[in-house]
């Protein structure tokens, strides 16, 4: 299967020079990021409960943006306004009883309040208190439910809803696939389950915010820059951390813990530079369109299209090019690949670059599709990625693709069977069941499970 004529190819030196320059840019972007949170805070700042802050929060289904509320009490008067999903939140700095008043005049036309417009709630600092205002006549479920949005328990089955959920599932699956193919390639070539891969996704999203929102660049240009920069972080990581550690002979378990340490460090780095709130890549509210029963944002549509194109390109690269074949050869058997003249280290370096670049791309598009990104967006998806990779068979790139689509569908379709809160849990349960029944995954081979 491995072509023995795969001789060592000259290393793409010019590529490295470009990466070197871009690393400088990366540092610059971080510096820019430092000043950013205050000046460019997104419209939908999410309240984060901590020792000094308590959060009132709620979702008024289907009313859209612009419904006004006031939170009054303990010498504070905090205004709040719903965002396009009907979500609102408000931070208070004193514990105690507050009166929450919904301004009925700000409700959209045709929507009426079912219960009281004034509610009293007691809050303790460090806690989030949900307050429900029930309304009549709202436009139903928001159009574009991304995975971070809560969905109320299954309201029964109908074909329209199925179609919408299938498309949402496909969208999540495609974005997941972009991220998890990299995870799978890294696992395949080095045996490492990289826990810091999630932070590469977050990095992509936050860099997208930096360039598109803070610096105001065109979104497509932003995507190109983000992909190059995140790819550069992969190159840098392999050069500074992973290659020396492989040479040092560190065991895989140690390496896994190193990725965990890196993930922790990166998460708090993101928080330090970007704050804990959710930021938006594009400031304007997304436009939607409807085909039959399915309503999507335009961002979702082209994010899905772009994912498909990139996934096809990655597939062609792995199947048709010499380097791609060499990558699969290293996945199969590194020693044999090295013996047949493949520069294993160069392939692994390339895999790190591809993996982190794809993760970064996935991050930007997640930020667009979910209409917001924060320091833990990637972390919330990490286990879904692992589930997808395990389901497809650890280390098989195409398995990761199929696994991602199945996991994406599972997450979105789980709503029909279980309450919305449990949709991620369902995917993780699926992961455990797969390990029970077929631990090598769909495309994996038995000997991998050891």
């Amino acid at each position: 299967m491995v072509n023995t004529a795969l001789a060592r190819r000259s290393s793409p030196l010019s590529l490295r020079v470009i990466f070197g320059v871009l690393l400088g840019l990366l540092v610059l972007s971080f510096t820019l990021g430092t000043g950013a949170p205050a000046a460019h805070a997104a419209t939908s700042d999410v309240c984060v409960a901590n020792a000094e802050t308590g959060c009132f929060t709620g979702t008024i289904k289907g009313v859209g943006a612009g419904v006004k509320l006031t939170i009054d009490g303990n010498g504070l008067n905090v205004p709040a306004e719903t965002d396009e999903d009907g979500k609102w939140n408000a931070a208070v700095t004193v514990a105690g009883v507050y009166t929450i008043t919904l301004d009925e005049a700000s409700l959209p036309e045709g929507v009426t309040l079912k219960g009281d417009a004034v509610q009293e709630r007691d809050i303790t600092l460090g806690f989030v208190k949900a307050t429900i205002f029930a309304v009549d006549g709202a436009t139903g479920d928001g159009a574009d439910n991304g995975p971070t949005q809560e969905q109320i328990a299954a309201e029964g089955f109908n074909w329209d809803r199925l179609a919408q959920q299938v498309v949402s599932g496909l969208r999540l699956g495609l974005l997941l696939a972009l991220a998890s193919i990299g995870l799978s390639l890294i696992y395949g070539t080095t045996g490492l389950s990289s826990f810091s891969h999630a932070e590469q996704v977050t990095l992509g999203g936050l860099l997208g915010y930096t360039f598109a929102n803070v610096l105001g660049l065109n979104i497509f240009l932003t995507i190109v820059i983000v992909v190059i920069l995140t790819g550069a972080t992969g190159w840098l990581q392999d050069a500074v951390i992973w290659k020396p550690l492989r040479k040092k002979g560190l065991s895989l378990t140690q390496m896994i813990i190193v990725t965990i340490g890196l993930a922790l460090a990166l998460q708090y780095t993101f928080q330090m530079f970007y704050g804990a709130s959710t930021v938006r890549i594009l400031m304007k509210n997304p436009d939607t369109f409807t085909i039959g029963p399915v309503t999507l944002t335009f961002e979702s549509l082209w994010a899905m299209g772009l994912s498909v194109i990139v996934l096809i390109l990655v597939g062609l690269f792995l199947l048709k090019t010499r380097t791609g074949r060499a990558t699969r050869a290293v996945s199969d058997n590194p020693a044999l690949a090295a013996a047949s003249g493949i520069d294993v280290d160069r392939i692994i370096r390339l895999v790190w670059v591809i993996a982190t670049a794809l993760a970064g791309l996935s991050g930007v598009m997640l930020g667009l599709v979910l209409n917001g990104i924060n320091w833990q967006t990637g972390m919330q998806l990490l286990l879904l990625m692992f589930a997808a990779v395990t389901l497809g068979g650890l280390g098989t790139a195409f398995g990761a693709l199929v696994g991602s689509l199945i996991i994406g569908m599972t997450v979105e379709l789980a709503n029909f069977v279980v309450p919305g809160d449990f949709k991620y849990a369902t995917a993780l349960l699926l992961l455990i069941i797969i390990l029970l029944v077929r631990p090598q995954g769909i495309f994996g081979r038995k000997e991998r499970i050891g």
């Binding site: 378990t253 340490g261 449990f422």
Partner: protein, 328 residues
């Protein structure tokens, strides 16, 4: 100068916090898993969370204290069984992924709004709803007592009583683990860590031994979780993935596969983090890093420390490199 004294005070106060003791108990449990048996458990926070829920929900349902403690132990045991059956026969990194996934499932179920009446949803359960059955056991009179430079309530939320109980348990569990590990059972367990096949060829049921170790460490995690929420409150998100990673850091810092490593590691972990935060806070002006950022900086350093520790000194402070097996 005052600022430095405050840092020193904060460091020492953090070392003797009841939550630090709880953390140490969970780390002792993780050490049974990883240090002695070689199981890559990445879901120790899940054991803590399920133990905490067991205690809190049972107490709120009106169970007496000791029955609630039994509920905690039962919760840890059942969780270990559920996790172990599918995964203990698989390779190590599968166990890692399954344990982390299972811990997340517990957290997601716990914070689901459907279960608001039972688990309190994402707000969790406030400490005062389940703390009383424990507090009334205190033999101490009301009032405050000062020992050294510490001045705490005798019985209050964060008082001497819970500190005494939690740290006594740390010592008891450490001694128990020491006794266990020098018993014939412990030798089999360490044998499994070194060479599973060799132990199997001696006719030992490796799966059963691993399962027993998983249960013992898991129950310690559950009890740790119970003591973690007693002086604070039960918030599912506080016992998430990062908690597991911090326990790993503490265990590796002190020394895996040693008796006192997890304990020393836990105390040092909190003290060092406060030290970094305090030092940076004093030395770096607010215009460069504000107070919140210094805290985040200290957590970044925790991540970096974990990396450096595993790379350059995997045996930690007290450990012996030969006792470690990272090739699970």
């Amino acid at each position: 100068m005052d600022m430095w004294i405050k840092v020193l005070y904060d460091m020492s106060a953090n070392m003797i916090l009841p939550t630090t003791a709880a953390f140490a108990i969970a780390a002792i449990g993780l050490n049974v898993h990883f240090g002695f048996t070689g199981l890559l458990n990445m879901g120790q926070a899940g054991f803590m969370l399920i133990g905490a829920y067991g205690f809190a929900i049972a107490t709120i349902a009106g169970w007496p204290f000791w029955a609630a403690v039994l509920a905690t132990i039962a919760a840890g045991t059942v969780f270990a069984l559920l996790l172990g059956i599918p995964t203990l026969k698989l390779r190590g990194d599968y166990l890692a992924i399954v344990t982390i996934a299972a811990a997340e499932i517990v957290r997601m179920i716990g914070r689901a709004s459907v279960l608001n009446d039972v688990t309190g949803g994402s707000n969790g359960l406030p400490g005062e709803t389940f703390r009383n059955t424990f507090s009334v056991l205190s033999p101490f009179p009301d009032g405050k007592t000062a020992i050294l430079w510490f001045d705490f309530d005798n019985t209050g939320v964060n008082g001497w009583f819970i500190r005494l109980v939690a740290w006594s348990l740390v010592v008891i569990f450490a001694v128990l683990v020491w006794l266990l590990m020098r018993s014939p059972w412990g030798r089999v367990i360490k044998g499994i860590r070194e060479d599973e096949d060799a132990v199997r060829s001696l006719g030992k049921n490796v799966f059963a031994f691993k399962m027993q170790a998983l249960i013992i460490g898991g129950v310690l995690g559950a009890i740790g979780g119970m003591f973690y929420v007693l002086p604070t409150s039960l918030q599912p998100d506080a016992l998430g993935r990062n908690m597991t990673f911090l326990i790993w850091t503490a265990m590796l810092l002190g020394g895996a596969a040693t008796i006192w490593g997890p304990v020393l590691g836990s105390a040092l972990f909190f003290a060092l983090r406060i030290f970094i935060q305090g030092t940076v806070d004093i030395l770096v002006p607010d215009s460069i890093l504000n107070t919140q950022q210094t805290e985040q900086f200290s957590w970044i350093m925790v991540g970096v420390a974990l990396m450096l520790l595993v790379i350059f000194r995997p045996q930690g402070i007290l450990g012996d490199k030969k006792e470690l097996n990272f090739n699970v």
